[in-house]
């Protein structure tokens, strides 16, 4: 479903701040797979997600989704089949629009928007039905501005919005990182449920190793702009957080060893 081939991304090229964020990333995510991505700060995991979404421009390499080469597509065009949930709950929903209008906006992602009224009676019913599943009572607040909701509520709403229309791919950028542990667990369960029900191809970037291992069916680790570890199936099931930490330290250690070689 998602094919990244030989992706190189450099920020601030040609300046003293030049950062090589991705250095030859190849990643193939088959249809219906739920992939989790971990890595330390600056490892390139979010950049990889932004490359898929079109926010980060690639220097060389190709991005294909569903068989289309979308490397040169603008963000809004990609959004027709890629939906995103952001880390900041304020980012995923529009606070000046009502809950219902936010749904209408998400609904228009895959269907052309016209000069007809955005909110229909059907849509009101559908949105209420889907919000009811959350058990947060939001189905009775459809006309409230989203700005009145809490961070967790907004994140749950963005997740439901991301699953409206017929998106094929769900991109999650540390979407539970800004929430308290209980709400984070709630949003994560909702994520698993939605991805499972709609059989979406999903990529979730996370800081939490436990979350990475216990969600989805495959985990990759980024380090210094490369994928250094890729596990799925039985191999991944056998992994514990401790093993991953070990691996993490070893990668960092090797890097140190490289440096010491250079210095020596």
């Amino acid at each position: 479903m998602i094919e990244l081939s030989k992706i190189f991304v450099t920020f601030n090229k040609g300046t003293p701040l030049e950062t090589r964020a991705l250095r030859g990333v190849d990643l193939s995510v088959p249809e219906g797979q739920f992939l989790t991505v971990i890595g330390s700060n600056g490892a390139g995991k979010s950049t990889a997600l932004n490359v898929i979404a079109g926010i980060a421009k690639v220097e060389t390499g190709n991005v294909c989704v569903g068989g289309d080469d979308i490397t040169d597509w603008p963000i809004h065009r990609r959004a027709r089949f890629l939906s995103r949930v952001f880390q900041d709950p304020k980012m995923g929903t529009c606070e000046d629009l009502s809950i219902l209008e936010n749904f209408a906006l998400a609904h228009g992602r895959t269907k052309p928007r016209g000069f007809r009224f955005a909110v229909s009676r059907d849509m009101r019913g559908q949105a209420a039905e889907r919000l009811k599943v959350l058990g947060l009572g939001l189905e009775n607040r459809l006309d409230d501005k989203v700005g009145l909701l809490s961070g967790g509520q907004r994140q749950a709403v963005s997740l439901l919005m991301a699953a409206t229309g017929d998106s094929k791919v769900l991109l999650l950028d540390e979407h539970t990182a800004a929430l308290d542990p209980k709400t984070a667990e709630f949003v994560l369960d909702l994520t698993r449920q939605i991805v499972g029900e709609l059989k979406l191809t999903a990529v979730m970037v996370t800081h939490s190793m436990a979350q990475a291992l216990h969600t989805g069916e495959r985990t990759v680790m980024f380090h210094r702009g490369r994928i250094v570890f890729d596990a799925a199936g039985a191999e991944r099931d056998a992994l514990e957080v401790g093993d991953l930490m070990e691996l993490f330290k070893r990668e960092q250690g090797e890097e140190l060893a490289d440096d010491s070689l250079l210095l020596g």
Binding site: H76, G92, T93, E95, A106, G114, F115, R116
Partner: protein, 301 residues
Amino acid sequence: MSLYEILGTLETGFIFGLVALGAYLTFRILDFPDLTVEGSFPLGAAVAAALIVSGGWNAWPATAAAGVIGFVAGFMTAFLNVRFNILHILAGILMAISLYSINLRIMSGPNEPLLGVDTVFTDLEVFGYPSYIVNPIFLGIAVVIFKLLLDAFLTTGWGISMRAAGSNPAMAQANSVNVGNMKLFGVGLANALTAVAGALFAQSFGAADVYMGIGVIIVGLASVIVGMSILPSGTIFLATLACLFGAILYRLAVALALNADFLGLQASDVQLVTAVLVAIALVAQQSGSSFMQVLKRRLGK
């Protein structure tokens, strides 16, 4: 103030209500401070006047044509911003100063009198009432129709996309909204409203003048700020209503200030009065509460 003066103030207030609706669209909905209106207001006046006087057009299609040309002006400002990344304020200034020259060309001079020709207001004489009564009524109805159309537009698929594009561009893009196109269309629409206001103002005033755009941006902004800081603006319907009331209140405030003998102001002080009023409204907004809340608290003590 006499009734005659009050009706005259209402007439101008309604015309500037259209400018206020445009300012609401750019400043509040799109978050695009648009200075093009300084040029598109006289542009609308010039286009309508030239078409009526030199072109021999009927005043109604001439006014509509002014709106279309205004749309083009706004579209070009947004185009400079969206396609060439020119800062929105600078793009507006560039457009406004180029429109100054264009307006001089359109009118082949600094002004175009509309005396002795049929305007939209001439057609209103059929009702048999004097113009100082029938004109404000007509303009009031017209501006309310424009307001309701704008309200309706802002709840359509395009409308909510435009609101999202202004309020949270990253989210709008993630929901497949072409933010650039929304700016092009929205700023165009705002300038169409402004140009129609200019066309109506010229016909009401009796002449189009190349200098009549000076301060229009502040008048529009003042109406939005004054209206929204005094009146509730929780929904689109209320917000646009507040803008219209703001435009009228602003005109009344200016008229009262100029009329108050003890202040010793004269007509040429109008821009100074405007600036002071806007500054007061902005300060009142900064305190985090509306005029009414401040007033209530003071009265409660």
